[in-house]
Symmetry: C2
Subunit: 350 residues, 2 copies
């Protein structure tokens, strides 16, 4: 495998017009980046979209706003630790938090397959309402479409969100500095593994549940404490590995990770070994990485732990090194290159 | 049929938890209103959502913003006069225009069925880019999901939009006054009829194309000219009839329409007669109704005609009368009650 090519989504293999969409085009890895680089960015290109953040930063009048969108197609609709409704609210709220914004308003667009029980829709709406209340956002506008049986899959939800930016930080990959440390908010791998197990009918000895949770409070607390956050990224599709490669590439910096420092629960590690997954590539829904100066690391960890992020840890550093390169010092002391997810590991996990 | 019940979505038949979603739950008529009233509004209720406009009016900091969302599931993806991409941009831009807002930013969320040709996606993205440029909006954030073959239908698109409100008008159904006139911007029925003909492989003697178009410029020109607009509504799902019933109900006013004044092209009228459709219920994608004081009607018509709305006409009036009642004086001089669309006439027209 040509890791150089995989680790640099800015130089993708040309997409032929005769190609068809594969599941992997939605996986958060190299193929999805090819699609963005070759179809959407050229068509829609503008300075705001080119920020390539989890959301767009707008300044329509006076203060800065963050604006983001995500569609949710998770299968199955319900899983241990959450459902499509909790994902649809927390996922979009978290994208706003990753812009350093206080989430204020959400839209909700439902694409329902004919025949879905109304009871299912009510249960999902109740989850969404509960998560919105917990994150202190209001669902202010919406839309409902129905497609014929066999033309959808139960329920797809799109949420878009608006948040307000109440500080002067410029939180984006390009703000990374050599010497920054990478603070991870919690253990990785639980969400994707939960979905996969649920889908395959597997059970674990211990209960593994999705980590789906809102990340607003710990982020806003770090900002309020004056921590000079340079970049934030929630580690959803493509997992920790793909998030790090994306940021290293956009920032033009090198990232070095310490495998030993990355928290993975023993039961998650065991299940991954049995199923042949690498936790670095598994999607999370309640876990983020913060890039900040080393002097702020201890305070950041203290704040995260005060917000129930008990496994928070410093997992690596940023260097000038090679732009776009992500390396990892493994537990046995060797060093390996971390590539972006190639192909599709776990389809439809969010 | 109990028209009283149909014409008052605020008193719907209870939705049983054992019910399943029908195509008509997405049709813009009484069943969709039951779903909103019984599932979504109770779950998400807040003062902004309760405005029940085409979009939400927000005031996060200083100026007022409009925020709206729509998912597009039109079938087929391409049709005379447009495609899913032109709908996805113009539809959301028009919802912002109906709030009296100047559209600024759009998000774009794609749910792609595995196997879709990349060439199709490129063609749709090019349409979106062209419409965005024409409406002077930027697509600033997006998302791509892929679902397995047979779990979608080619392509679904969600767009959400943010616009800025640069005037002091309060444009909403509750601003209706007895004595207001209703100005319609153009002839009705073309979009829905085009989609239906395309789907059924029908051809007309004359070319009937979708009326899909951005409505921003005529609306902003009317506002700039000082016209005291009370309410605006684009006449999409459910057509002119459902839009009027919705507004009469929310406003607590009566609306009287003049059938003779409602512009319907001869070829559209003929095709409707053959196919058994009532143009009043057919969706439009480039046509809106404005409610305004009679003194402003002549100026409104002049401005609309200067913006290529050549068929613009005064089609009715608002009276104190019966709250929620919509009547129509027919071409032969009799008077009939206009009910909201009941059931589903043309599924997946947007």
């Amino acid at each position: 495998m040509d890791t150089k090519q995989d680790s640099n989504p800015a130089c993708p293999v040309p997409l032929s017009a005769y190609e068809q969409i594969l599941m992997a085009h939605g996986g958060g890895g190299t193929l999805m980046h090819r699609l963005l680089e070759q179809v959407f960015y050229p068509a829609f290109g503008n300075p705001i979209l080119d920020q390539q953040g989890d959301g767009a930063i707008l300044a329509p009048a006076g203060g800065r706003l963050a604006f983001t969108t995500d569609s949710y197609v998770v299968h199955p609709l319900f899983f241990p630790g959450g459902d499509i409704g909790t994902l649809a609210v927390n996922g979009t709220v978290n994208d706003l938090a990753m812009c350093g914004a206080r989430p204020l308003y959400l839209s909700a667009g439902f694409i329902i397959e004919e025949g879905l029980p109304v009871a299912t829709l009510k249960r999902v709406a109740a989850s969404m309402a509960q998560c919105a209340a917990a994150a202190r956002v209001h669902i202010v506008t919406g839309d409902t479409k129905v497609v014929e049986k066999g033309k959808g899959d139960g329920l797809f939800i799109n949420t878009s969100g608006i948040g307000i930016i109440e500080h002067e930080l410029v939180i984006q990959p390009r703000s990374l500095r050599a010497g920054d440390v990478i603070v991870l908010s919690g253990d990785i791998g639980r969400h994707g593994l939960t979905i996969m197990a649920q889908r395959e009918g597997l059970t674990f000895e211990s209960a593994i549940e999705s980590d789906c949770a809102p990340l607003v409070d710990p982020v806003l607390a770090m900002i309020k404490a004056g921590i000079d956050i340079h970049c934030l990224r929630d580690l959803t599709r493509g997992g920790l590995a793909s998030g790090m490669v994306e940021i290293a590439t956009t920032a033009g910096r090198q990232i070095n990770l310490e495998e030993r420092a990355i928290p993975v629960r023993e039961d998650v590690r065991g299940a991954c070994e049995i199923m042949g997954f690498d936790p670095l590539y598994i999607a999370n829904e309640g876990c983020f990485a913060a890039f900040l100066p080393e002097r702020d690391a201890a305070l950041a960890l203290e704040i995260l732990k005060a917000h129930n992020c008990n496994e928070a840890a410093c997992i690596g550093t940023v260097t000038a090194g090679d732009a776009g390169l992500v390396t990892m010092t493994t537990s046995i002391g060797s060093r390996r290159i971390v590539a972006m997810l190639s192909g599709e590991q776990l389809p439809r996990i969010c």
